[in-house]
């Protein structure tokens, strides 16, 4: 019987949707081991986020309000205290930048081992084995954790968000535990680019551009019309981000976001190992590239050898005709 504590993420005063992948993992483990899962929400906007979290079938939701921007030092101690008192076997979160930043800190407080960014798990009674990508996704390792509490972050694209459950979970408050490390770090601010487009990690279609687009203007004038004709999210290669053509948070790859949409279109992207690590789980992959031998061919289902400055506008037009 493994009980799981899901660490929810708050974004702009509400529950961030990516939390629902960690809830899916927790629900699956609970089901496999006859255990239960609770969701903990610690941060700014905990009340609203907890109300939302209560819709997803948890045994209970635990909340603690902490003012100001997210910093691991402000919330880790509270989460660790709840984890210890509550007799949980697993503490988990989705492996976004917040989860990856926070959970190892919580783990160190609990003297726990961490399995990061897992793709799946197997349960043998209460003994769990976690399958996780390594070597830029070129090897999968089966990890076991020997500490009493196991800390796990889950790859969002491998755990489909849970649907709302029938009834609301009870919500209780936890006391905030102070951590001296929090006195030595100050949150200055967050800068985000707001977009009408779907979130990269949630979209069904992703269109990514590479350095071959040559400029930010070309991303805007050539690629974005295709992105919007498909109702897609836009991504980019590391080279395009480094060159400043698009914001860094559009980067897909080992170092950026991992995506696995139904359709991934790589425009002018050669397909470095590190880029493939972020998108080779996509269901259908299309490459548009002048170079027939580009490494992206090793994962592409369809490859159009063409000059992207001709092919992309033509493709945008064809998609438009589909209506």
């Amino acid at each position: 019987m493994a009980d799981i504590l899901v660490v929810g993420e708050i974004l702009e005063g509400n529950l961030r949707k990516n939390t629902l992948s960690a809830v899916r993992f927790a629900a699956d483990v609970a089901s496999a081991t006859s255990g239960a899962y609770d969701i903990i929400i610690v941060g700014d906007g905990a009340d609203a986020a907890a109300d939302e979290a209560a819709k997803y079938g948890a045994r209970k939701v635990i909340k603690a309000q902490v003012d100001g921007g997210y910093l691991a030092e402000k919330v880790a101690a509270t989460i660790a205290a709840v984890a210890e008192d509550g007799d949980y076997k697993i503490v988990t979160a989705t492996a976004g930048t917040t989860g990856k930043d926070l959970l190892p800190r919580v783990a160190a407080k609990l003297s726990a081992g961490v399995a990061s960014d897992i793709a799946s798990f197997e349960a043998d009674g209460d003994d769990l084995t976690y399958r996780r990508p390594m070597y830029a996704g070129n090897i999968f390792g089966y990890a076991t954790i020997t500490s009493d509490i196991e800390v796990v972050t889950v790859r969002q694209t491998e755990f489909e968000a849970v649907a709302e459950a029938g009834s609301a979970s009870p919500i209780e408050s936890a006391d905030v535990v102070e951590d001296p490390a929090a006195e030595r770090i100050e949150f200055i601010g967050v800068e985000s680019q707001s977009s009408e487009r779907p979130d990269l990690t949630e979209a069904e279609v992703v269109v990514s551009g590479g350095r071959a687009l040559k400029s930010a203007e070309n991303f805007e004038n050539v690629l974005e019309p295709l992105v919007d004709a498909l109702g897609a999210a836009m991504g980019a290669s590391r080279a395009a981000c480094d060159a400043g053509y698009v914001a860094n948070d559009l980067q897909v790859g080992q170092t950026g976001k991992v995506v696995a949409p139904k359709l991934y279109i790589a425009v002018g992207i050669s397909g470095a190992i590190q880029h493939l690590a972020g998108m080779k789980g996509s269901k259908t992959i299309v490459a548009i590239n002048k170079d027939k031998e580009a490494p992206i061919a090793s994962v592409a289902d369809y490859f159009l050898v063409a000059d992207l400055f001709e092919a992309v506008p033509a493709l945008t037009e064809e998609i438009g005709k589909l209506g």
Partner: protein
Amino acid sequence: MKILVPVKRVADPDNANKMKVSSDGTAVTSEGLEKKINPFDEYAVEAALRLNENATTKESLGETIVVSLGPSDVVTTLRQPLAMGADRGILVGAEDGELDSVVVAKALAKLAETESPDLILMGKQAVDGDSNTAGQMLAEMLGWPMATFAMSVTVADVGKALIVVLEVDTGVLSVKVTLPAVVTVDLRIVAPAAVKNGVTADDHAYNEGPRYASLKGIMKAKKKKIDQPALADLGVEGGPLVNYAKFELPEARSGSVNYVESVQELVEKLQTEAKVL
């Protein structure tokens, strides 16, 4: 400032797709692949060197110490950051099977207690394990604040604090950490204007990426000290908490690539074959 830079030796990341699994599935092999310094740790070395130098006068502003853990031949890997300009090295002797992120963090915490660095600067993740946990655990073990996924670092408060800009899912986050602190770096930390120490002229633009070791640097590196304590000597308690029972290669994508002749053919196939439009 005194900066500790942990670096990991990994199999050539640009050939990660050539990693193999042993026939019984219990080990990964990197036969024939060159061993290199983890790219993110190399960026951390560069960032440390930029923090610790006046780029115009070449005056040194502090000490940069590189640390690694592993078998004795890892000494070769440490010579590279020493040749780039780090001052000395420490290699904690250990077999690979004795190490996981927790053991590494504990060992680094012990070293931090003896060395008392102002800053521990390291790569955000090692590109073999891809765990992205050691730096965060280390910060917690030391009770220090941390900044992860750093894309820029600016010295503040007369060297007592750092303003760090982090790359997060939704954009960029700025924090100010009071030293001593742990900072884990992402790849854009080696952009030309990413590191500002308040001494090097503000408009100084470094080349993109880590510096190459000069011939002079390589010669000097041969004389730089590398201490080699054994893991057991550091007083680290407990062994690895994460073990790998087996490994496997990912499932190959089915089918081979289908070259299409035109945009029209592509759209048709996406509709009728792939059924994604």
